[in-house]
Each structure stands twice: as structure tokens, then as C-alpha cells.
């Protein structure tokens, strides 16, 4: 890329010729406030908070969309700029509820931060304000449109990144509302519950559904034996809630959960290993018996819902394996209950997930037996952070502790479930050994790793070519499905994760998130894999024991009853 010279606030600086004024200023170490701009989303220049002065241009320009030109002279800090920014924010606040103290985003709100940054002095609450109903129809995310500042980030993530097409600008002028299709409640649309809208929303207008109090209630009920499971991606991100950088914090996480009062602290990685064994055998079974191929992974509930609404004809491609979260719940209330001499209804299962769609998944009617749900409550990483706060736990000072047995034992293959490509890699580690009957030494499959949207690989397994594909983000998944529907995808196995980067970029993960944060979390995930002595699912001793004493064999009768599920065709634009 050609470099050009521009002058920002009196200093010459070299920037790429295709930079915007905003990125150029960032390179110069100048912080320009932004609201509608979000890295990775199509910039629109809607809010004008990022206004700057460019010499020779009469009006102020929106720096997030304004391109640099050679020799441009830019001022980011003039009285005119400061006034304009302040006025814009004051106008936003005039139409904004005054409810920071009780808001989910209190202390982590971009509007608050910007109001502070631009030095808002007065807010006139005298004008007319739009009143909108809160939308609590989705089990995963809550919309509070009165707090919406119409920045459009959620619209872009929902349409461009997820291709779900649920959120849009409706109406016009004073009545403009960012809302689901037909102004319906989210829960009655084909929203896939991915929560990516809650990740990009700068304010408290879209948040995860907060289930913290239900978990507190269960923890203080003496009749309940409360167990908790934590997903792989939580351990590499929970530290961010407390100002730490993304790194493996498994020990502190376990210690913190124990302090909260859980009777047992278990690991979803245990059932991730189990998923791999069931799934690898299912794949082999399909290959050997002419079953539907390619087989597609089924651990990402947003993805499942997406396929059910958008490509019901492709449902036979889905693995019938429940996700690790649901396998865990089903086993906690059977295998573990038996071991402990408890009745299933005396056990309360809490999951800590990077994902808002897991809340939806736990409520699917298929995910229960005899009226007893597999998983009782699902909290996101963000909600767990809040629980630690409420309990006065100083996360950074916690000691390192170990998971409980037996459902806390796992391998490196399970932990990489947290990153896009991880399920594929874990399945290959097992499938290749099952097919060849020989020990696999080269267990790191670099072709399926990384943040790229669609990854492909062809492997030679005992003389047979095995073709696989991995997609993350639902717009990428849609591309693969369009190929598959057109008969142009001759893969054996496809892994799909709803969220960009996989679970590490999940809709329930700490804020804010960008490419750098995703990369750091991903690095931590592969670090956690390397740190573990066992790195193949079928070597997990606790899972072996589970098969020996309880399940019998992979895809056996008990597995089918507890660990496998079925899918439903759903209408394209609504919920049934």
C-alpha cells in the first residue's frame, strides 16, 4: 500500500493512502470519540460524533468515513470540533432515559464514556421522548429500545456478519426504531439468539438476558445439589471482566466458582471429549454405511436454529449429537445422580457459557427427559463476572484450584472447542486414530485454525482422502450451505460456529471485543491445549470409565437416549 503524508494537529504523519481520517489519527496516537463506527463492520458515518476539521472543507467531516488525501491538514481539537461533538452527545442524551444506575451497561457503556470525554455539561430532559416497550420475549437477549441511540451496529452485525436479517431500521423520523422484522418480539422471529447484537451495542439497548438471580436462588436452596459446568472459551476471557488481558485463567475460575457456593465445579470439556467420541463414530458410521454426507457439527445452538429456519432441507446433514452443554446436563442428572445417590430433580445444573444462544438451547423441549430439563440455568461469561462482583470476589487475587472429579477431567482436544476449527481438529485427532488403528503423532491441524471465515483442508487418512471445511460467523456458514444445497460441496465433515472466531467471540463474552482480543483468546485456547498432558478425547480416563460403567459403547442404546437429539423444521421468517 502506498503511503502518503498528512498533517494532524500540527504533526506530519505517514499513513496508508486508503486510510480514513480516523485510522490516521489513531496511528498518530490521537483518540477521536466514535459511536456508530465499529471495527469490522461497514462504516456509515451516521452519528457524527467523530467530527473533525479538514482545511479547505467547509463543514466538519465524519472522520470514520472520510478518506485522507496527500497533504491534507486535519484538526481534531478545535473549539468548533469540541462544540459540535458536545452538542451531538447532548442531543442524544436529551432523548435517553436517565437510568444509568440500574442499567446492565452501567460502568461499561460507550455513551457514558463519550459523555464524559466530550465534557457534557447539561442535559435537557424537557423535550418529548419516545416511549418504547422493552422486549423480553427472547430467552437469550433483551431489547430496551428507549436506550437505543440508532447507531446501527446491531443492524450491520445481524445482516452482514450473521446474515440473519432480523434487526432493521423501521419507521422514519422521530418514530425511527431499530427493531426486529414486523416489530415483533425477538422471541417470535427467526432470530438465532447468537447475541452478536449485544456484543456490538454500545449502550444498554441490547443485552444478554440476565439470569443471575435465578442462580443465586438455587444456591441458597438447601434442598438442591447445585453443580456448575464451564465452557472452554470462558476460562480464556473471564479475566477481561476484571481488567486482566486474555489468558488461561482456569484455576482462578474454578476457585471463584467454589467461593460462590457451588457444590461441585465441573468442566464442559468432559462432555466435549464425549461429544468427540460420539461424533467421530457417527462420522465413521455415515462414511461406512452410505449415510448423509457431509456431516455437520451440532454444538453451536445459534447455528442449529439458523439451519432449521433457513435450510430445513439440509437438516439430515447435522450430527445428531447434543452439544457438550446438553450432554453434561443429561449425564449430571443420570450418571452423576446415580453415583451420588441423588434423584435427578434434586440436582440443579448451571452452565457458564460464552454464548447467549445456550440459554435458548437449554430451553428447547428436546433437551429434557420426563419433564426434567438437562440444564436449569445458563449464565454468560459477562453474567459470571457480575456474580463475582456481587459476591465481593477479587478475581485477580484468587488462588488456582482444580476441577472436581469425575466430570472435571478433560483433554486438550476438548479445550480447543472454544476456537473456530477446534471441534474439527479434536474430531480428527480421534477419527484418524480410530480409522488407522495407529497412534497419531502430528496432532496439530494448522489448516483449520485461525480467524478466517471459511477454512478448508484435504487429509490423507489411511489412503483415503478426507475433505473438511470450517466456517465461523453465519454469513460464512450461509455461503457453505448455498454450495451444499447446489450440490457443490463434496466434503465429508463441516464444522460451523455461529460467532466470529468461534465461541471465544461468543455473544456472551466480555466487552469490548475486536480482532486483537479474539486473537489473544484464541492463542490462550491453544496454549491451554498444549498445557494439558492428554490431548486426544479418547484418552480421557473419566470418559473411558463412563463408557465402561454406564454408557456401554459409542452410539449405543444409552447414548441415543441421553446424548443424541433431533431437529425441527421452522418457518423462514418466524418462530413456530
Amino acid at each position: 500500500m502506498d503511503m502518503i503524508t498528512v498533517k494532524i494537529d500540527g504533526k506530519d504523519i505517514q499513513v496508508p493512502a486508503d486510510a480514513t481520517v480516523l485510522t490516521a489519527a489513531q496511528m498518530a496516537g490521537i483518540d477521536i470519540p466514535t459511536l456508530c463506527y465499529y471495527p469490522g463492520l461497514r462504516p456509515e458515518g451516521a452519528c457524527r460524533v467523530c467530527a473533525v476539521e479538514v482545511e479547505g472543507v467547509k463543514s466538519l467531516v465524519a472522520s470514520c468515513v472520510y478518506p485522507v488525501t496527500p497533504g491534507a491538514v486535519i484538526h481534531t481539537n478545535t473549539p468548533r470540533v469540541r462544540n459540535a461533538r458536545r452538542t451531538i452527545v447532548e442531543l442524544m442524551l436529551a432523548n435517553h432515559p436517565n437510568s444509568c444506575l440500574t442499567c446492565e451497561r452501567n460502568n461499561n457503556c460507550e455513551l457514558q464514556q463519550i459523555a464524559f470525554k466530550v465534557g457534557v455539561r447539561k442535559v435537557s430532559f424537557s423535550g418529548e421522548r419516545r416511549e418504547w416497550l422493552k422486549d423480553e420475549t427472547s430467552p437469550s437477549v433483551v431489547r430496551d429500545p428507549e436506550k437505543c441511540i440508532l447507531c446501527g451496529r446491531c443492524v450491520k452485525v445481524c445482516n452482514d456478519i450473521q446474515s440473519a436479517g432480523i434487526l432493521n431500521y423501521n419507521n422514519r423520523g422521530f418514530d425511527t426504531l431499530v427493531a426486529p422484522v414486523l416489530n415483533r418480539g425477538l422471541g417470535s422471529t427467526s432470530c438465532v439468539a447468537c447475541g452478536q447484537c449485544s456484543v456490538v451495542c454500545p449502550v444498554g439497548a441490547i443485552t444478554e438476558k440476565n439470569d443471575v438471580d435465578e442462580v443465586w436462588r438455587a444456591l441458597s436452596d438447601p434442598k438442591l445439589h447445585v453443580v456448575v459446568q464451564t465452557a472452554p472459551a470462558v476460562r480464556v476471557a473471564i479475566g477481561e471482566e476484571f481488567g486482566l488481558t486474555s489468558s488461561v485463567e482456569t484455576g482462578k475460575l474454578v476457585a471463584g466458582l467454589r467461593r460462590l457456593g457451588f457444590d461441585r465445579v465441573f468442566d464442559t470439556d468432559f462432555t466435549a471429549d464425549l461429544t468427540i467420541i460420539e461424533e467421530a463414530h457417527e462420522l465413521l458410521h455415515r462414511i461406512q454405511n452410505g449415510g448423509t454426507l457431509p456431516m455437520i457439527t451440532s454444538c453451536s445452538p445459534g447455528w442449529i436454529k439458523f439451519l432449521e429456519h433457513n435450510y430445513p432441507a439440509l437438516l439430515p446433514h447435522l450430527s445428531t449429537c447434543k452439544s457438550p452443554q446438553q450432554m453434561f446436563g443429561a449425564l449430571a442428572k443420570s450418571y452423576y445422580a446415580d453415583k451420588m445417590g441423588l434423584k435427578p430433580e434434586e440436582i440443579y445444573v448451571v452452565s457458564i457459557m460464552p454464548c447467549t444462544a445456550k440459554k435458548y438451547e437449554a430451553k428447547r423441549p428436546e433437551m429434557s427427559r420426563d419433564g426434567i430439563v438437562d440444564v436449569d440455568a445458563v449464565l454468560t461469561t459477562r453474567e459470571l463476572g457480575r456474580m463475582f462482583e456481587e459476591a465481593g470476589i477479587d478475581f485477580a487475587k484468587l488462588p488456582d484450584e482444580e476441577f472436581d472429579e469425575p466430570m472435571g477431567i478433560s483433554t486438550g482436544a476438548a479445550v480447543i472447542f472454544g476456537a473456530s476449527g477446534g471441534v474439527m481438529e479434536a474430531a480428527l485427532r480421534t477419527a484418524v486414530e480410530v480409522i488407522t488403528g495407529k497412534e497419531l503423532h502430528d496432532i496439530e491441524f494448522a489448516q483449520v485454525r485461525g480467524l478466517e471465515g471459511i477454512k478448508e483442508a484435504t487429509l490423507d487418512v489411511a489412503g483415503q482422502k478426507v475433505k473438511v471445511a470450517v466456517a465461523n460467523g453465519l454469513a460464512n456458514a450461509r455461503k457453505l450451505m448455498d454450495l451444499l444445497a447446489a450440490g457443490q460441496a463434496d466434503y465429508h465433515f463441516i464444522e460451523i460456529m455461529s460467532c466470529p472466531g468461534g465461541c471465544i467471540g461468543g455473544g456472551g463474552q466480555p466487552l469490548p471485543v475486536d480482532m486483537e482480543v479474539r486473537l489473544a483468546r484464541m492463542k490462550a485456547i491453544y496454549q491451554a491445549d498444549r498445557d494439558l498432558p492428554l490431548r486426544k478425547s479418547h484418552e480421557n480416563p473419566a470418559v473411558k470409565e463412563l463408557y465402561k460403567t454406564f454408557l456401554g459403547k459409542p452410539l449405543g442404546h444409552k447414548s441415543h437416549e441421553l446424548l443424541h437429539t433431533s431437529y425441527t423444521c421452522r418457518p423462514l421468517f418466524k418462530e413456530c
Binding site: V181, L182, N310, P312
Partner: protein, 165 residues
């Protein structure tokens, strides 16, 4: 793109208008910038934009339904609710206002039992809120469909309304 095939979602009202809609879709779906004309034609056909029709348009144009809805709610010309056979517009301009147009509007509302912007249950009448319809010489004035009725008094209303079956 966006053409899922869940059987329960495919049932369209058994109504000849949907055959006509399918023809229109065939005509418009390949054309660039044809969404607005398509919506206009659809409204002409049904009198408003029914949800199943918008769904069909979304499928044919391969865009999310939310996008169609966004466009339909952005332009004042589109209606998302069925409208009455007769659309009543009572002028609320200054000239009419001085000559008592609010009493005229109140009387219409009373007679029909609906508010401005609403439609009677039998789909006979819709009251459409308007500002000035530009016939100040006849104040107070109202329009029913394309017909202008001027120099109105509240007492005249029931007789006028009855003329529209």
C-alpha cells in the same frame, strides 16, 4: 438465499390475488431497483401490504423480510393494515379548523366508532389523519375517496357516510 422450505410456512391464503402476485414477482424480481414499484403494485392488488405477500416478495427478491418491512414503514404511502373500502379524510387545515372541522372529525369518529387512523371492523371505512387537503374555499371540508364534500355541519355526516356502501 432466504428461500427456506418449511412446509408449515408455505401455505398461502387460497386467493386468486396471490396468483397475480406471483406473476408480478416474475416480472419484477430480476430488475434492479424494482422493490418500490413491486410494493406499490402489491398494495394496489391487496389494498395494503399483507404479511404473506411481503414474505413472498422477500423470497423472490432474496432479501430478508426485515428489509422489506423497513422500506414499507419508511414510506408513508404504504399500509400494513387492511384498509376500508372508503377512505375518509377530514381536513384539519387552519381555514377548516376555524370553521369547526374538529367537530366534523369527532362526529365521523362517533358515527363509525373508530379513531383517526383506524378501520371499521366490516372494512367499510378508514379514517385517515390529514393536515390540509387544499380546498379551503369549501371549509370545513372532507374527502371520501376521490369525492370532495364541503361546507359541512356535523348533522350532515351520517347521511353522507351512508352513501358509501
Amino acid at each position: 438465499m432466504f428461500e427456506g422450505a418449511c412446509a408449515c410456512a408455505q401455505q398461502l391464503p387460497n386467493n386468486g390475488d396471490y396468483d397475480r402476485l406471483a406473476e408480478l414477482l416474475n416480472k419484477y424480481k430480476q430488475q434492479k431497483g424494482a422493490l418500490i414499484p413491486m410494493l406499490q403494485e402489491t398494495q394496489k392488488l391487496f389494498g395494503y401490504l399483507p404479511e404473506p405477500a411481503m414474505e413472498q416478495i422477500a423470497r423472490a427478491f432474496a432479501v430478508p423480510l426485515g428489509h422489506i418491512y423497513g422500506v414499507a414503514t419508511f414510506y408513508a404511502q404504504f399500509y400494513l393494515e387492511p384498509r376500508g373500502r372508503h377512505v375518509i379524510r377530514v381536513c384539519q387545515g387552519t381555514a377548516c379548523h376555524v370553521r369547526g372541522s374538529s367537530k366534523i372529525l369527532d362526529r365521523v369518529k362517533q358515527e363509525l366508532g373508530i379513531n383517526a387512523g383506524e378501520t371499521t371492523k366490516d372494512f367499510r371505512y378508514t379514517i385517515e389523519p390529514v393536515a390540509c387537503i387544499g380546498a379551503c374555499g369549501l371549509a370545513p371540508v372532507m374527502m371520501i375517496n376521490e369525492n370532495t364534500h364541503g361546507r359541512l355541519t356535523p348533522e350532515m355526516m351520517s347521511k353522507i357516510l351512508l352513501k358509501y356502501e
